[in-house]
């Protein structure tokens, strides 16, 4: 990592690093910097241009943050792939069945009077609460 004309220059080798990881790194910097990527045969060349004026140390910190996220992303993808059979076994049924809500109260459904009595009770409670304001 080096600073050239105010921009942070980084070179990352392929295939260890991929475009998705670089995108994750750029997202982590958000609106604080513009990130330009040039893809070569064996490596990516990255230029990070901070939007605001920063000291050299701050520029390096920004580059470090980018690198952290890229590395984190790449490593996470490996971990995710390695653990996929386990996590899929847990998550797939959860999302497949969705989050079923509690069905409507059968007593209220079967006995309209119960529903009406309860509605009146709630309405009384609301009245009492309003009188406190």
């Amino acid at each position: 990592m080096k600073i050239v004309k105010g921009a942070v220059h980084i070179k990352l080798g392929k295939p260890l690093y991929g475009a998705e990881g670089l995108a994750a790194g750029a997202l982590a910097l958000g609106a604080r910097a513009q990130v330009f990527v040039d893809e070569g045969k064996t490596a990516f060349s990255i230029e990070i241009h901070p939007v605001e004026a920063l000291s050299s140390a701050e520029r390096l910190a920004l580059g470090g943050e980018f690198l952290n996220e890229v590395l984190n992303h790449e490593y996470r993808q490996r971990v995710v792939r390695a653990n996929a059979p386990l996590t899929q076994a847990v998550f797939a049924p959860l999302f497949a069945r969705g989050f079923p809500a509690v069905p409507a109260d059968p007593l209220e459904e079967l006995e309209p009077q119960v529903k009406a009595d309860r509605a009146r009770e709630v309405s009384d409670l609301l009245e009492q609460a309003r009188s406190m304001t």
Binding site: F99, R118, A129
Partner: protein, 414 residues
């Protein structure tokens, strides 16, 4: 940079001897945990012996066998049962609902309170906890009064246990009495700075304290005595700041607080909620509480993934209680993102962390602190704090005093 620990010379392991576990070097000893939070603390020679393969005549065998750490004597049926009971495979719904009654979006209106309680009761699960959070009890009182009454009735009508908590800073004795008579727990929110003045009473009579630890807080023993003197049953410390220095002083303060509790365990009834929630209260072996354990609602009736999620810029808003259907939450991208980010098997360092069964670093908190739901674990101050607190608890566990204390709190450490 990693906060995980490793042997400089890894011990030799015999295949098929040890059951799956994570380890951590802690004060010259080796802490091991399994997927479900069962633990053992071994000396280094014991750990090496364990990895090399124990004989049934070994003194360690019965303890490690009963806790499920021996591959040769592994109870697969019990492990399958445990996995089903304590994982998302048997998840019913979020049990904790945080109602933020006042704040950025103003005070919750009564009609909105009713819609919010209705929404909460659409969530399945054997028990519902409604935690009412407020700054100004006087302004929020009609809403608090209504929610307590309405939730109690909804609980009776649906025959579901409802646990009510009122968390704030100030309350009159009449209001405290009302809450007590309706079975609502009172939680005092306070900032801990310096040492306590023993003569100064808390602003209202509460059973529990949620103490925001400021970096200047000192004399943990004095604070413990203060909580004890004013009738608190338990205290939960939370970080007022996640700056490096603040995190270190938090863990140091907490360690001394634990020492005081262990020292006065027999006569004191004060309990530490951090240790309790990590070791006894976690149903799901997943870190954090977004969606899976908790939903939060603000004054405008917006639903968030958690209380931490409500503190962000609205990215973790799931919808509005008037329009959002509970069953649609699973379909939302925000839900899928936080649930995926919650799973330690999707996180590089978390996958190997010894504290993964106890972890409570919510994705929403990582989002707040680091701008990413996944968190950057090596530089995450929330992770530093979490691991620091767990170190303070678990490095004390082999001591009989702490085990007695946890026994007294009904924590099953086996």
């Amino acid at each position: 940079m990693s906060r995980l620990t490793a042997f400089t010379k890894p011990p030799k392991a015999r295949a098929g001897a040890a059951a799956p576990h994570q380890y951590r070097l802690l004060n010259g000893r080796v802490l091991i945990t399994d997927e479900h939070g069962r633990w053992a603390v071994l000396s280094e020679p014991e750990y090496k012996r364990y990895l090399a393969g124990l004989k049934p005549s070994d003194l360690l065998w019965p303890m490690l066998q009963s806790r499920g750490f021996l591959a040769e004597a592994f109870d697969f049926d019990a492990a399958a049962r445990r996995q089903f009971e304590r994982s998302l495979l048997s998840w019913k719904g979020p049990g904790s609902h945080i109602l933020l009654l006042d704040g950025k979006t103003g005070t919750m209106e009564l009609d909105m309170a009713r819609r919010t309680v209705d929404f909460v009761f659409r969530c399945p699960g054997p028990q519902l906890t409604l935690e009412l959070v407020f700054e100004d009890a006087a302004r929020c009182w009609p809403v608090i009064w209504f929610i307590v009454q309405y939730a109690r009735r909804k609980g009776e009508w649906s025959r579901r246990p409802v646990f009510l908590i009122a968390r704030g800073k100030m309350m009159t004795p009449e209001r405290t009495d009302f809450l007590r008579s309706h079975g609502a727990q009172r939680v005092l929110e306070l900032d801990l700075e310096g040492a306590p003045d023993m003569k100064t009473a808390p602003s209202f009579a509460a059973q529990r304290a949620r103490a925001r630890l400021r970096p200047g807080a000192r004399s943990p023993g004095e604070w413990a005595r203060w909580f004890e003197k004013w009738g608190f049953e338990s205290v939960r410390f939370v970080a007022a700041s996640f700056d490096g220095g603040a995190v270190e002083s938090f863990t140091a303060f907490y360690g001394e607080f634990l020492d005081w509790l262990a020292e006065h365990g027999e006569e004191s009834r004060l309990r530490d909620e951090i240790a309790l929630s990590f070791l006894a209260g976690r149903l799901w072996s997943l870190p954090g509480s977004d969606v899976l354990e908790q939903l939060a609602y603000d004054g405008a009736g917006r639903v968030f993934t958690s209380e931490a999620g409500a503190g962000g810029g609205g990215e973790l808003c799931l919808g509005d209680v008037g329009e959002l259907r509970y069953q649609d939450i699973a379909l939302l991208p925000a839900t899928r993102a936080v649930v995926a980010a919650s799973h330690p098997d999707n996180q590089p360092l978390c996958a190997q962390c010894v504290y993964r069964p106890y972890c409570a670093v919510a994705p929403a908190l990582s989002r707040q602190l680091q701008g990413t739901l996944w968190g950057q674990t090596p530089s995450s101050s929330a992770c530093v704090l979490q691991m620091g607190l767990m170190d303070r608890i678990l490095e004390r566990l082999p001591s009989e005093k702490y085990l007695n204390l946890l026994n007294k709190w009904n924590v099953d450490m086996a």
